[in-house]
Amino acid sequence: MTEMTMVAALNAAFRQEMARDERVVVLGEDVGVNGGVFRVTDGLLRMFPGRVFDTPLAETCIVGAAVGMAAAGLRPVAEIQFDGFLTAAFDQLVSHAARLRNRSRGRFTCPLVVRAPFTGGIHAPEHHSESMEASYAHIPGLVVVMPSTPSEAKGLLAAAIRSPDPVLFLEPKKVYRAIKEDVREEEYAIPLGKARVVQEGTDVTVIAWGAMLVPALQAAGRSSYSCEVIDLRTVSPLDVPCILQSVEKTGRAVVVQEGPHSFGVGAEIAAQLAEKGILHLEAPVERVTAPDVPTPLAKLEGLYLPSAERVGKAIERAMAFR
């Protein structure tokens, strides 16, 4: 075990996966010489010459080229420098990466990873703090992963790189250097599509992913109720059985989502619970989310991000419902 930040853990996953599989290549803006603006790809160019590429500034072509590379037998890992610039590659993700297998009836496949620093909380400039995971989760054929801690990030990135399908890997930039954790040195992959129960409890289920696991755990820790905390790990495909199993036990659910309230991942979770778990629910599903407004700049960002206090109040409301 070594104590690591999420940045270091992701870097370690890269080193292992690139050593393990020579089809893995890395491309993106400033990922080579500079090691990525957050240093996730630091040192890879030196270790793996000819497999790490500083590209021109063009998100559409970075992702579009990754589609072609993947179809032609490589395992490209593309970096989009910030969440807000991923939208420039939306067409390639939606129209091609996510449906290549289906539209060619399996003749061509798209085993690529697109990584991007995601979500807010670091007082960044405009378009650097977006939480649009629901928009991507809505695309059939795309796997959407959001790790929450360093050791999770390492295992999930390894799994993403090994995945036969396109994976959008969204890294909570607030967590990048904020949390240090013991991370296993050896290679390991955490299965995609499986959530994890971080903390067991019997009164209420608190569901979070990415950076929101922090306020979720804080609120659970401070609560007088027995909270079961679930980390989704993979936003899509959603691990519905894990959520259902927990809510069958607790009867109450609180979803903590950093993105806007409406049409979010929380809405999907609430719908799944209504469809498959209605008889177990003892209270309406509580959603702690941002309001339906564009991500504010630094001075008002605090109003936008769900806090442990707001999660705590939602737990109280869920428990008070009779």
């Binding site: 010489v33 500034l57 960002e301």
Partner: protein, 362 residues
């Protein structure tokens, strides 16, 4: 004849002031002493503003900041050629251009301090908000220019972007529209030779950026971006061409990003200090000063007044920015739509209720 040359193309280079501040008299733009002094004063205040912002950022009073240093001639020289009715479309590094276009200094600072009110551009100024997603402003400039053309207005759009942006589809698509519809737009590309860590030579295999215009059917020119007269001349002529219906122009202002990309960047990881020092010495302010001295436009008293005045105005701006009352929490809702829809009314009320006493006024 099965093989023939269908066209040959040349790319023009324009420099009026050489590196020591000697002018080519045949090329000097028709600017009087007062106008040259305007350019100098605007470059000076931009320099002081830039240095102040870097200091404020280090002290935690400003967020991430993208410095202008070294690009003052490119930005001031071009924006100074605009007329009141023209529109300016900036990227994120255009503080000097915006200063030359009368954007209040405290608003520029407020935006970089994380306050949306910094983008509430006064109604009298046709300056578009800063575009952070690289190159995305180019189609907007094309659209505005199209509107001028449709309404038969004698106005032009001037859009700023960097060498990196020339790799974006947005910019190339915008150039194509501009050529096809012969729009009154000027593409002003500051080739500061770096896009974060990527040198311009790895951004494109083309010898110049100016030549990209040729492919879209309109003129492109490379000018010395550290020469305020060359920049002014080229932009002035391009804007005139645009306003008189002759179509778009692409100007590549060849300059250098002397500072780190932004305050979050460490450029020592990817470029040599010697290169930076070389360009730091090619300071566009020094070049203009040398020429002004030769003309007798720059005595000691005038120079001292200019810099003292610049420092005073920037200091006042810092105070104004820091004395702004904090933005209202309700602001995050009030500008999303023309009218607050019911679900947002509910979300706003609930947020204000939650805030209760602590700054909860709408």
């Amino acid at each position: 004849m099965p093989r023939a040359v269908l066209g040959t193309f040349a790319v023009e280079w324009l420099q009026v002031l050489d590196e020591r501040g000697k002018a080519d008299p045949g090329l000097l733009p028709p600017l009087g002493e007062r106008e040259v002094k305007d350019l100098y004063e605007l470059m000076a205040i931009s320099r002081v503003f830039d240095e102040q912002c870097l200091t404020l950022q280090r002290e935690g009073r400003l967020g991430t900041y993208a410095a202008v240093r070294g690009q003052e001639a490119a930005q001031v020289g071009s924006a100074y050629a605009l007329q009141q009715q023209d529109w300016l479309f900036p990227s994120f590094r255009e503080n000097a251009a915006l200063i030359a276009r009368h954007q209040p200094l405290e608003m520029l600072m407020a935006y970089w301090a994380g306050d949306e009110r910094g983008q509430q551009v006064p109604a009298s100024l046709n300056n578009f908000p800063v575009a952070i997603p690289v190159g995305t402003q180019a189609p907007h400039a094309v659209g505005a220019a199209w509107a001028f053309q449709i309404r038969k207005e004698k106005a032009a759009a001037l859009v700023y972007f960097g060498d990196g942006a020339t790799s974006k589809g947005d910019v190339l698509e915008a150039m194509n529209f501009a050529g096809v519809f012969k729009l009154p737009v000027v593409f002003f590309c500051q080739n500061n030779q770096w896009a974060i860590s990527l040198p311009a030579g790895k951004q494109t295999a083309a010898q110049t950026l100016a030549q990209k215009a040729i492919a879209f059917g309109f003129p492109g020119i490379r000018v010395d971006g550290n020469d305020v007269f060359a920049v002014y001349l080229a932009t002035h002529d391009a804007l005139e061409r645009a306003r008189s219906g002759e179509g778009p122009t692409f100007i590549e202002a060849f300059t250098y990003r002397v500072e780190h990309h932004t305050t979050s960047d460490d450029s020592s990881r990817y470029r040599a200090k010697a290169e930076v020092d070389l360009w730091r010495a090619k300071d566009p302010l020094l070049r203009l000063e040398a020429w002004m001295e030769g003309k007798g436009f720059l005595d000691k008293a005038y120079r001292e007044t200019v810099w003292a005045e610049a420092r005073k105005r920037v200091q006042e701006a810092v105070e104004k920015m820091e004395q702004l009352p904090p933005p209202k929490p309700g602001d995050i809702f009030d500008y999303v739509f023309a009218q607050l829809p019911p679900h947002l009314q509910e979300q706003k009320a609930s947020l204000l209720r939650e805030l209760g006493g602590q700054g909860g006024q709408a």
